[in-house]
Symmetry: C2
């Protein structure tokens, strides 16, 4: 009974060699693995945050790599994070909170370490990206939404359940899709003007990295960060700034002992996991910079991958779900060997 799922075990099947009617339908992982080289997008070293935790009890290195979000999302906080990393501010801080099925959180446990000068104070309005203009002059046409240049929502093509109007596709009542490699959620909101003003925001999926804050209107500086290590806490969307996602090493956070204080904070200082350093990858020597690429969410292979996530036809499955929530379609990311 080793094969509860076959995605990995079956990845080496030589599908093209078999007669077409004998080849089993590919799994999502196989579809991604078979994507053309030009469907993968290299992630710039300037957009990678590299966190090295102290080695584990067996002396094994623990590196967590976070991809920062592209514009138009959360750039104020991300600018602060770049400054904090450049100042080596996190070196010597720690992971202080691990709450089961929720988040792992890190930063300065003393809350007294002075922050670098020049950090921005970012308003809550930045939790959401509002479109300023339409490409189409017809604001009543929902399809105009998809034509806005900086994002292409492909939810219309995704097999996520839709109502008759193509709206309210998930349990949260919003349209979901992918843009430039990221899961996003959006809505057409009627403003006081009576005109539609579409809005988009990033999603608290597994591995998402956000900015801890105190009570509103504080939105946090970016010095206190958390990563989601459980079922997507979508109630945090639009309530906390998301700045990126863990693309490698999430297990070094998700497998940490859970804290026993309220909210999963560690009770004792010795339980905290020391952070050796956090750097933007481009600050590392070239030979030490980790390299990753993601499967373009605008590619044909991604469309087939997403369809297969929603309709598993590979041999293990007998009843395809017929849909998927946005966080159950993780964007494929892979490490690239240094040249």
């Amino acid at each position: 009974m080793r094969y509860m799922l076959l995605t990995v075990a079956a990845a080496s099947l030589a599908v093209p060699v078999l007669a077409q009617d004998a080849a089993p339908p590919p799994s999502p992982g196989e579809i991604a693995a078979a994507a053309k080289p030009d469907e993968w997008v290299a992630i710039d070293a300037a957009d990678l945050l590299v966190m090295d935790l102290a080695p584990d009890g067996a002396g094994k290195a623990r590196r967590v790599v976070i991809q920062l979000m592209p514009p138009p999302f959360s750039q104020g906080w991300i600018g602060n994070i770049r400054k904090l990393a450049a100042a080596h501010w996190w070196d010597g801080t720690s992971v202080n909170r691990v709450q089961d099925n929720y988040v792992a959180q890190w930063g300065d446990a003393t809350e007294k370490k002075p922050l670098p000068e020049g950090l921005a104070v970012v308003p809550e309005s930045e939790y959401v990206s509002h479109f300023q203009t339409f490409v189409s002059g017809n604001e009543a046409d929902p399809k105009a939404y998809y034509r806005y240049p900086f994002v292409e929502m492909i939810s219309a093509e995704l097999p996520i359940a839709k109502d008759g109007k193509g709206k309210r596709q998930d349990g949260y009542g919003y349209q979901t899709g992918f843009s430039k490699g990221w899961p996003v959620v959006g809505e057409l909101s009627a403003r006081a003007t009576g005109k539609y003003q579409p809005a988009l925001w990033p999603v608290h999926c597994y591995g998402a990295v956000g900015v801890g804050r105190n009570m509103s209107p504080d939105t946090g500086s970016g010095a206190e960060l958390y990563a989601v290590i459980g079922h997507a806490p979508r109630h945090l969307d639009r309530n906390i700034a998301l700045v990126g996602r863990v693309i490698s090493g999430i297990e070094h956070l998700s497998s940490l002992p859970r804290g026993t204080e309220a909210l999963g904070f560690y009770a004792e200082e010795k339980e905290r996991v020391p952070i050796v350093s956090i750097r933007i990858a481009s600050e590392l020597p070239a030979a030490e910079q980790p390299k990753f690429e993601y499967l373009s969410t605008e590619s044909d292979s991604f469309a087939r991958y997403a369809d297969a996530r929603a309709n598993r036809r590979d041999p293990f499955f007998i009843a395809p779900a017929g849909g998927a929530d946005i966080c159950n379609i993780p964007v494929p990311v892979r490490a690239v060997a240094a040249k």
Copy 2:
């Protein structure tokens, strides 16, 4: 920045003492904590599976408590599990697989330990519970669905996004709700007869426990079990038997080191976590039986709790989500002190 969420920290606020217009709206946790004693339902010791893992590296006990599912779901496999526990079959087996954002799985790593005699072979048709009859004679009336006596779907009252027909409420295109303390999903499926035959099935939420299997038509005996430790893998619904959920001690599974082999299996025998014993709680001495109760999903407090999960109005939140997926409304379960 300690208070990323205030659910726990604010739980002791003496709300009734404050003037009504000054009291902040309660959090979901506060609503559950304030439920009346008769809204909580005691879980029978005969429905609790108690798994004791070997102590951790610091010598600390690790107990995982699983609640088995009530009829009409998965009773064939659950009968097998009762026999396996009564035979003390799992004693000396181990946790063999931990895959990040997916499952922890346990059983006999050698796959050679003889099973007790008399285990049932359960067919795939048991993944789903089909209603046999209608209370209402009007099969075309979807509301008849809710009148079937063994389950009361309360999704109609839940703030989960609905289309105009009250269907397709989640990303998977199904109606979701709660029955007797459990999250369930259902659909009205048109059969070859042209008549509607409603079906219900349990959901792979965080903590759900299921039966490992090989390729179809094998459905597994129940000797190999797994618990969900990541984002709800809803594509497994109707493809694997679910038999229960972890109600205490999930952190002893979710914080284990991830296996480095395919599917998260441990590479070496020494990495496996020994299982000291698995017992039905009623087999334990009375004084040692753990006692738990869940908040009745048919209670007024649960309805308010679910609404608050979907629309966070407690002070930390500025933008209530307006909905929630079924797995983001975990049914409150609490330990009860022995009398």
